[in-house]
């Protein structure tokens, strides 16, 4: 049973991270927006949904929608002051924006309302799981996996439809510079903002799913490191390819979780092994960059 449980857990994580990776791929792969603070959407989705469901006692679905809306809005808003920044400066600005939100939740423990909830650095526990009472402890993870997969499929369909539309053509042209789309009458800033809003809301969706699965969130789960794990997924899987983004999430999650099995074979302490996970992902990125620049699945040519 241990292995089955682990595989279900792993699949849920893969599903959640695949949503994050699809959403980063929309920004970086298709629009050329190097978002180094992607984790902020994950964080906002998790916190907002937790606040709505735990503190305001609203149903899970409202928490989920609330998290998506707030994260999407945040994406839309941070792209206003940063609209004129060049790619590298934009990356720095997004990194900073993500840290600001994380540190806000770290310090402002009133946000999740004192009383029974600790908040702040202690994190928030006891986040309810949707429809938990209908299932036994053994079957619940399977049900949650279904929820995650439904969300993943919806995300894939929406993002894939968008990237294949006229909207997709415009953002792909923005990826290679502002001049041409501007000369063709496309409001480049607005398109960037729209991309950030869509990507933000799906990042938020992943955050909600994560919070309600684990039942506990704290600011140090949303460190910049998380962003780079998602980056690894896009780089390895293949940028500007939505199937690639999902494949990347699957592979990186396998690597990420592989070290826990190594302890049976290699005489290294568990703590050290945990840190080695990041080394494994680092190597994966380097190998991908060197030998498959476009990732495992290349960008698909759009044919008519």
């Amino acid at each position: 049973m241990g292995l089955v449980n682990f595989l279900v857990y792993l699949s849920i994580m893969m599903g959640i991270y695949a949503i994050l990776s699809l959403s980063l791929n929309l920004q970086y792969g298709f629009t050329g927006l190097a978002n180094f603070g992607h984790v902020v959407f994950f964080c906002l989705g998790a916190y907002i949904s937790t606040i709505i469901v735990l503190v305001f006692k609203m149903p899970f679905i409202l928490g989920l929608l609330g998290g998506m809306v707030v994260a999407g809005l945040f994406g839309y808003i941070i792209s206003i002051p940063t609209a004129n920044l060049k790619e590298d400066y934009w990356a720095i600005a997004t990194l900073a924006a993500a840290e600001i939100v994380r540190i806000f939740f770290l310090n402002e423990d009133w946000v999740v309302g004192g009383g029974p909830y600790q908040g702040g650095a202690f994190g928030i526990g006891g986040i309810p799981q949707p429809l938990r009472s209908l299932f036994s402890a053994h079957t619940y993870p399977f049900f949650y996996l279904v929820i995650v997969l439904v969300c993943l499929v919806a995300t894939y369909i929406i993002i894939n439809t968008l990237t294949q539309s006229a909207f997709g053509r415009v953002i792909k042209s923005i990826r290679e510079g502002d001049n041409l789309p501007q000369a063709l009458g496309k409001d480049v800033k607005r398109f960037r903002m729209k991309v950030m809003a869509v990507a933000g809301s799906f990042g938020g969706l992943a955050g909600c799913l994560w919070a309600h699965y684990h039942g506990f969130i704290s600011p140090n789960q949303f460190l910049p490191l998380e962003t780079f794990i998602i980056w690894a997924m896009v780089i390895v899987g293949g940028k500007a390819n939505n199937k690639g983004a999902i494949l990347g999430a699957v592979i990186v999650m396998i690597f990420y979780n592989s070290t826990r099995f190594l302890k049976d074979y290699i005489p290294i302490e568990a703590v050290t092994l945990a840190s080695l996970r990041m080394v494994a992902i680092g190597i994966l990125i380097v190998v991908a960059m060197l030998f498959m620049k476009e990732g495992l699945i290349k960008e698909k040519k759009t044919l008519y």
Binding site: R175, P181, L184, G185
Partner: protein, 264 residues
């Protein structure tokens, strides 16, 4: 159609445009020539809003265009190409053309999901237009090739096709025939003339090829050191002493004299 009045633009100590004044009549083809560095491309960039001007006024259809973003100027109906072709490498030739039409329904996020049928019809119409233009610029066989794999001349053709697709009122063409082979240039000349005749479009083009200039332009404006030094019909310009002098004093003297020279 287009009126440029006393426009100045400097980059640091260099006066790229030093009080340029001219106007372009509706439904005309106007050539803009001058030695390298005389300010032709800068002028295009100022008109299309990519550079802000230091002084002067620009009117399009009687309306002042000032301090507005390039995309808004494009929306007003000013289409431009770039001297160094701006071609998204990872988009196919056909995608490049489909990108061009302004305000497509399918560009709205919600429309994509709410109006799939309208968008389907829109796409079919755009595809039909695109195939026609592909035939015109002779890129039909390459329609599913990544634009990044085209040669320099083919990229020029693609830029021209794309701007035709966007259907502007005024076309600013920056060296549309540079790097294009002579036979095709002849076809393009015919195509540009037809365009004016059929659609009544107005064209302002930078060109180094005097053959092209004398065949299609009604009027020619000559720039040197950011100033207009002459204006007239192609015949007048070719006899104008000031113009000959400007070209002879520069390193590019053969551009004007040798009809088949290709400029840059």
């Amino acid at each position: 159609m287009l009126k440029v009045e006393n426009v100045h633009k400097s980059f640091g100590g260099i006066l790229a445009l030093n009080g340029v004044t001219f106007s372009v009549e509706p439904n005309s083809i106007t050539g803009l020539i001058g030695p390298n560095g005389s300010g032709k491309s800068t002028l295009f960039n100022v008109i299309s809003g990519f550079y802000s001007k230091d002084r002067g006024e620009i009117y399009f259809k009687g309306k002042k265009i000032e301090g507005i973003e390039p995309y808004r100027i494009a929306m007003l109906g000013v289409g431009r190409t770039f001297q160094i072709s701006e071609v998204p490498e990872k988009m196919t030739v056909l995608e490049n053309l489909l990108l061009a039409p302004k305000s497509q329904i399918g560009e709205g996020i919600f429309n994509v999901f709410l109006h799939p049928l309208k968008i389907k019809r829109e796409n079919e119409k755009l595809l039909k237009d695109a195939y026609e233009i592909l035939e015109l610029v002779q890129l039909y066989d390459l329609r599913n090739e990544y634009a990044g794999n085209l040669s320099g001349g083919q990229k020029k053709l693609l830029s021209l096709g794309r701007i035709l697709m966007s259907d502007p009122i005024l076309l600013l063409l920056d060296e549309p025939t540079a790097g294009v082979n002579p036979t095709l240039i002849r076809d393009l000349i015919v195509a540009i003339k037809n365009l004016r005749a059929e659609k009544g479009q107005t064209i302002l083009l930078v060109e180094h090829n005097m053959k092209v200039i004398s065949e299609i332009c009604d009027r020619v404006i000559v720039l040197d050191f950011g100033k207009k030094i002459a204006e007239g019909t192609p015949e007048e310009i070719q006899k104008n002493e000031k113009v000959l002098e400007a070209y002879l004093s520069g390193s590019s003297k053969w551009e004007l004299l040798d009809e088949d020279s290709r400029g840059q």
